[in-house]
């Protein structure tokens, strides 16, 4: 995954709270087992929203309402947002599993104070571009700066473009082995099906 680089682009406003992952990616499309090309299912049952997004020329930034991405753990929600052309979402709060899924897919999910977000939404609606700087955790729009937060560890990962899995193995393989050894003696009932290596 390539690391994040600052960019400037217009934003789309979805001013509605509790937009859940069933709205973002309706469950009946979960039968698809790939992760590419899922953009065609994003907000499938919200045709008016999709029309407005198209009419706005598919901006890559979404300014959403509180608790965005609540509900199911389906990573398809993030893959489909990515597939429809989004690279960053800002909201007052996020469903937590969704937020973690964003970080694992190079999608910026930035938390903004409700008042900050409201001011930014007003500027975005009148066609102003947003400049997104993840390292500084700021959005600049119409000469004003708007603060957002991405958890430290997610930010590091997004900026560096790390692969979480291989990085854990490379940096902490020995820590994990040591933990397992200690657990095997403290809680042997969790290890009855494995013989000691």
């Amino acid at each position: 995954m390539p690391g994040f680089t600052p960019f400037t682009a217009p934003a789309f406003v979805l001013d509605e709270d509790d937009v859940d992952t069933d709205i973002i990616f309706p469950a009946r499309f979960l039968l698809h087992t790939e992760r590419k090309g899922l953009g065609r299912f994003a907000f499938h049952d919200r045709p008016a929203l999709l029309e407005a997004y198209e009419a706005a020329d598919k901006p890559p930034v979404l300014l959403a309402g509180a608790n965005f991405g609540c509900g199911s753990s389906r990573e398809h929600a993030v893959w489909s947002l990515d597939g429809m052309g989004l690279t960053a979402v800002f909201a007052p709060s996020f469903g937590e599993i969704f937020r973690g899924n964003c970080a694992n897919n190079g999608m910026v999910a930035g938390m903004m104070e409700p008042a900050t977000l409201a001011a930014l939404q007003a500027l975005a609606k009148t066609g102003n571009d947003l400049s997104i700087d993840l390292a500084a955790q700021t959005v600049t729009c119409a000469g004003q700066e708007f603060a957002f937060t991405v958890p430290d560890s997610d930010r590091e990962m997004l900026l560096a473009g790390w692969n979480n899995t291989t990085r854990i193995l490379a940096l902490h393989g020995q820590d994990i082995t040591a933990f397992e050894k200690a657990q095997r003696s403290a809680a042997p009932w969790l290890w009855t099906e494995e013989t000691e290596a």
């Binding site: 499309f29 979960l30 560890s153």
Partner: protein, 465 residues
């Protein structure tokens, strides 16, 4: 588990205790590397997880800590022979093939142990107190009913868990939800959790691990505690816990994968320490009077849009009322229903089926209502059949299905048609959750059974006293 050795520490909550016992590395960027003891897999959230393994030439670190079962995509009206839907058939076949390739145990659709992940895992004793358990499914908090650190994760994280047996996770704050007093007859833990979500909101628990305490929780059976923890995510909390006690140990003893003999005694000794210290500090506490809870029913399209069945529909949100076809100010009781669904990982266990059967015995589903029961597991289905519950349901006009997620997620052939109104024991009343344009009211098994008989939403306490 290290905790056993260090008794001289600051007071801890149950959540802190579980977290500390599973911390491999304390991170300096707000997250700790947490050891994962058990991982449940289903067909929908894992295809891309296995891709992650293949793309990076990784293997599964401890295959025996993984257990896979098809549940979301499987048809429930018939079983045996190939799955008719091509995409579903391929998805289930892919899970089986992936498990074979990576050495993970797969519980076949036709087997006795199949069912919804969150129902079969406790049934098998795969879920235990004190463990950390994850699944690519947001309702994984269900297992917190045993005092396990259990939470839902995304598909990428499923891959990480398989390869490393760990995850970087942010430690949550502690939220104590205390239910004083005892429930009225016909009021259940489903009503308790809905009442909480209505109180704190769908995002009210974000960043918090919930521990449920109080008389009504201690009095609850394990099945009822699972219902309670199951919907923590509907309040925004990934983790929901009940401290294990004698009820827990009695329920688990003798289950196929539970510890045995001396190991059992050793495990129980540790499990008894899994509680919040009396002087533990919670970041937040919510007190709810259990005796004052009326049967709950949702009126909107978010689980926090919920009300007592004897109340009137609130003034908004307009979008939700419009979608649901409801009018503000009118009583919710009396609203006619088209579908009644008893099932899902929230309410499909044997006690749920018994409660519903108790209501409908000797009665018949109202004309025009499609009613169905979908047991959470094949084990539950067979137990219910041994008790004659299937006959009770069928005599009343309910369809008796095979185990699976069914109408909870409507991606498996079961769905509510557009514009139709359903009352459901599941956990999400989102727009389109039970089918595009379907309207969903969440309620307890007793309330759903009562509505199926009456053909409208009714107060089970009054009509079936």
């Amino acid at each position: 588990m290290r905790d056993v050795m260090t008794s001289q520490s600051a007071p801890k909550t149950l959540y802190d205790r579980l977290w500390d016992a599973h911390t491999v590395v304390r991170g300096d960027a707000g997250k700790d590397l947490i050891y994962i003891d058990r991982h449940l897999l289903h067909e929908v959230s894992t295809p891309q997880s296995f891709e992650l393994l293949r793309d990076n030439a990784l293997t599964v670190r401890r295959p025996v800590t993984q257990l896979a079962v098809p549940d979301h995509a499987v048809p429930t009206s018939e079983r045996g022979g190939a799955i008719k839907g091509e995409l579903a058939r391929k998805q289930v076949a892919l899970l089986e093939a992936n498990c074979a390739e990576f050495g993970i145990e797969y519980l076949a659709l036709e087997g006795e142990r199949q069912g919804i992940v969150h129902v079969i895992s406790p049934e098998q004793g795969f879920t235990m107190p004190g463990i950390s358990l994850v699944c690519g499914d947001s309702h994984t908090a269900t297992h917190g009913a045993f005092g396990a650190l259990a939470f839902g994760i995304g598909a990428s994280e499923c891959g990480t868990v398989m390869a490393t047996q760990t995850l970087w996770q942010a430690r949550n704050r502690n939220l104590r939800v205390h239910y004083a007093g005892q429930l009225q007859p016909h009021v259940t833990t489903k009503d308790m959790i809905l009442a909480l979500i209505g109180t704190i909101g769908a995002g009210g628990g974000i960043g918090h691990a919930i521990e449920f305490t109080g008389e009504a929780v201690r009095a609850a059976s394990i099945e009822a505690r699972m219902t309670l923890c199951n919907m923590g995510i509907e309040a925004g909390s990934r983790v929901a816990l009940v401290a294990p006690d004698e009820t827990t140990f009695a329920w688990l003893k003798g289950r196929p994968r539970a510890p045995q003999g001396a190991m059992w005694d050793q495990a129980v000794a540790w499990w008894r320490t899994l509680r919040s210290d009396d002087d533990a500090v919670f970041d937040r506490t919510v007190e709810i009077d259990a005796a004052a809870i009326a049967p709950q029913v949702t009126f909107g399209t978010s689980p926090d849009q919920v009300m007592a069945v004897d109340g009137t529909v609130p003034a908004g949100p307009a979008r939700a009322l419009d979608y649901m076809g409801l009018e503000a100010g009118k009583p919710i009781a009396g609203i006619g229903i088209d579908y009644a669904f008893i099932g899902s990982c929230t309410n499909s266990r044997i006690e749920d089926l018994r409660a519903a059967a108790g209501i409908i015995r000797g009665r018949h589903v109202a004309e025009g209502v499609t009613a169905m029961v979908v047991p959470g597991s094949t084990v539950t289905k067979h137990q219910a059949e041994a008790e004659g519950l299937d006959k009770v349901f069928e005599a009343a006009g309910f369809a008796w299905h095979h185990a699976g997620c069914s109408l909870c997620v409507a991606m498996n052939g079961d769905f509510v048609p557009e514009g139709k109104r359903s009352i459901s024991t599941s956990n999400r009343n989102f727009e389109g959750r039970q089918g595009a344009g379907a309207r969903t009211h969440l309620a307890s098994p007793a309330m759903v059974a009562a509505a199926a008989i009456a053909g409208r939403i009714v107060d089970v306490r009054k009509e079936f006293a």
